[in-house]
């Protein structure tokens, strides 16, 4: 009886693991099988053409623009916020309020960010559909991620470092940029890498703010298509599952690379703290 129960429970656990693994293999495998035919150099590195036969270079460039811009906007704000929360703020209403805001931001679905960005940046601030509008919108999306990871990284910096520095007559600010921040950099980096993944995977919010123009962007004030949005539109407008899967391969490879990078950085962080 006891053995039977034990075996049933074990079976449940293994079935769950099997489910998890097999869905992953199925999805990744399916995307690869569908899309691998479409992957070649000219697909990756030639300009898009509306009349067919084009590549996805403009979408890659747009994705790079969006990633760079949103990270550039969100990182300083996120890191400074985390510093405030972790190093300066005293417990109280203000901190509770900020914490609640960041946590809420983290939970809002991206379609709502899309709605917001679509009227705030695009219309109210007059930025129109543009990489800038899109990047600002995703910058808000990734802000909580960066704040959270930076806070965690700051927490791991031993209090002894801060005390030592202050006892030498340094100001809090000097302590921060000479001792605390350098020790926290690997953690901050891994937060940024996570955010890059989030930006690349984002679709609903970018679709409604950066638009869908399928051409090489001339700058951040142009509307353009990211890879993910392109994959979505290929599916939706052209029924081109194979093309979407080809882009899917590119996206999955990027995600894998980013995850590996984050892992390496985290390892470094652990070493640094030993």
């Amino acid at each position: 009886m006891r053995k039977l129960k034990e075996n049933i429970l074990k079976l449940l656990v293994y079935l769950s693991v099997l489910f998890t693994i097999s869905t992953l293999v199925l999805i990744v495998g399916y995307i690869f099988i569908k899309g691998i035919k479409g992957i070649n150099l000219s697909f990756l590195f030639s300009d898009y053409s509306a009349s067919g036969d084009g590549g996805i270079l403009p979408m890659i460039i747009t994705t790079l623009y969006t990633v760079a811009l949103s990270i550039l906007i969100a990182t300083p704000i996120g890191v400074l916020s985390a510093i405030y929360l972790q190093e300066y703020a005293k417990k109280g209403k203000i901190v509770t309020c900020i914490r609640f805001a960041t946590e809420s931001l983290a939970g809002i679905p991206s379609i709502i960010y899309g709605l917001f960005g679509g009227i705030f940046f695009v219309v109210t601030l007059g930025m129109k559909y543009s990489i800038l509008s899109g990047s600002l919108t995703v910058a808000i999306i990734i802000l909580p991620v960066i704040i959270r990871t930076t806070e965690e990284a700051l927490k791991t910096v031993p209090q002894a470092y801060r005390e030592a520095s202050l006892a030498l007559g340094s100001t809090k600010f000097q302590t921060l940029y000479k001792v605390t921040l350098p020790s926290a950099i690997p953690g901050i980096l891994s937060g940024i890498i996570l955010s890059v993944g989030r930006v690349i995977g984002e679709s609903a919010a970018i679709l409604l703010t950066a638009g869908t123009v399928a051409q090489m962007p001339g700058g951040i004030f142009d509307s353009a298509r990211t890879l993910t949005v392109h994959a979505y539109l290929l599916t939706k407008e052209n029924g081109d599952i194979q093309g979407a899967a080809s882009i899917g391969i590119v996206l999955i490879v990027i995600v894998l690379l980013l995850n590996t990078m984050a892992r390496l950085v985290a390892k470094k962080l652990n070493k640094a703290n030993c």
Partner: protein, 306 residues
């Protein structure tokens, strides 16, 4: 001893003036940090402000009834009929359904990774779960549309594959990584002493996991579940491709339905005037759900700290 005489000698150039500068920088820095921190608050307020302003316009200025909006089951924008009860129902059922699959699978997988799996296996599984989390949701949609939909139609012998079941499966898969990673953290935090206590009483590993480890991690696991709910409730692009999007009250799991998020995304491009505002109102309803979830989560995590 030669050294010492020199040591006391010169003083640093430091003077009060110099320090005054430092205090100014100090103040300035603190204020800049604080302003940055408030950007989150401002963003949240702006989002709430704009979405609610747009979303409540029809009810405040145009005389639509909010009750009819919430309780209505007909959605025909071109005929000026806006009722989202069916979509609320669809959202809730699909989320619950995904929970029923995703939660046990996620928790048990987390238990496997943190308690049962040999190190090598765990080392492979963690990145695998991360990958699952990192795949853009559009790709889940593409997979769902071209693989799940036809197969579900075949397996269940349905006239069409777009259905609640399909949404539930896609959402369950998508919430898995969230649940697994948060639950894993919670399980790892269970003191080793509990496990040793149980094993020393002659309990097996599996018994220990189910009777001591998981119950001890319950608040963390609950947080994982709530995060999973958030993910499922808010997912858009994957769902839109597999839902069928018929705005009807579901009567069975094989019906195609339109959850709240897809209602916004599917019509946003085409909406105009009141129709567009009603999509914002749909956003307001969704937003309210998510905020409530966050409040619950907040309460939970502060309880966990106690």
């Amino acid at each position: 001893m030669l050294v010492k005489s020199r040591l006391v000698g010169t003083k640093h150039r430091d003077n009060n003036n110099n320090n005054k500068n430092k205090y100014v920088i100090e103040k300035l820095a603190k204020n800049i940090f604080m302003i940055s921190a408030f950007i989150s608050v401002i963003s949240l307020l702006l989002i709430i402000g704009f979405v609610f302003y747009k979303g409540l316009t029809p009810f405040v200025l145009k005389g639509y009834s909010f009750i009819d909006f919430l309780a209505g089951t007909e959605w025909v924008p071109s005929a000026d009929k806006f009722g989202i009860l069916s979509m609320i129902t669809a959202s809730i059922i699909s989320t619950l359904g995904a929970l029923i699959i995703g939660v046990p699978v996620g928790i048990l997988t987390a238990a496997f990774i943190s308690e049962i799996a040999p190190k090598q296996v765990a080392k492979i599984m963690s990145p695998a779960v991360e990958l699952l989390a990192g795949i853009p949701s559009v790709l889940y949609g593409v997979f769902g549309l071209s693989f799940l939909v036809p197969n579900i139609q075949k397996i269940f012998n349905l006239p069409k594959g777009q259905s609640l079941i399909t949404i539930i499966i896609v959402l369950a898969i998508m919430m898995l990584p969230t649940i697994i990673s948060v639950a894993e953290t919670a399980i790892r935090a269970v003191p080793n002493a509990y496990k040793e206590g149980s094993l020393a009483l002659g309990a097996s590993k599996i018994e220990t996991i189910f009777k001591v480890v998981l119950p001890s991690a319950k608040s963390g696991i609950l947080a994982a579940v709530i995060l999973g709910v958030g993910r499922a409730l808010g997912e858009t692009m994957a769902v839109i491709l597999v839902a069928g999007n018929s705005p009807i009250m579901p009567t069975s799991l094989t019906d195609s339905v339109r959850p709240l998020t897809t209602n916004i995304a599917i019509e946003m491009g085409y909406a105009f005037g009141t129709h567009q505002e009603m999509l914002f109102t749909t956003g307001v309803v969704l937003f309210t759900f998510i905020l409530i979830l966050n409040l619950v989560l907040n309460k939970l995590s502060s309880k966990a700290v106690d």
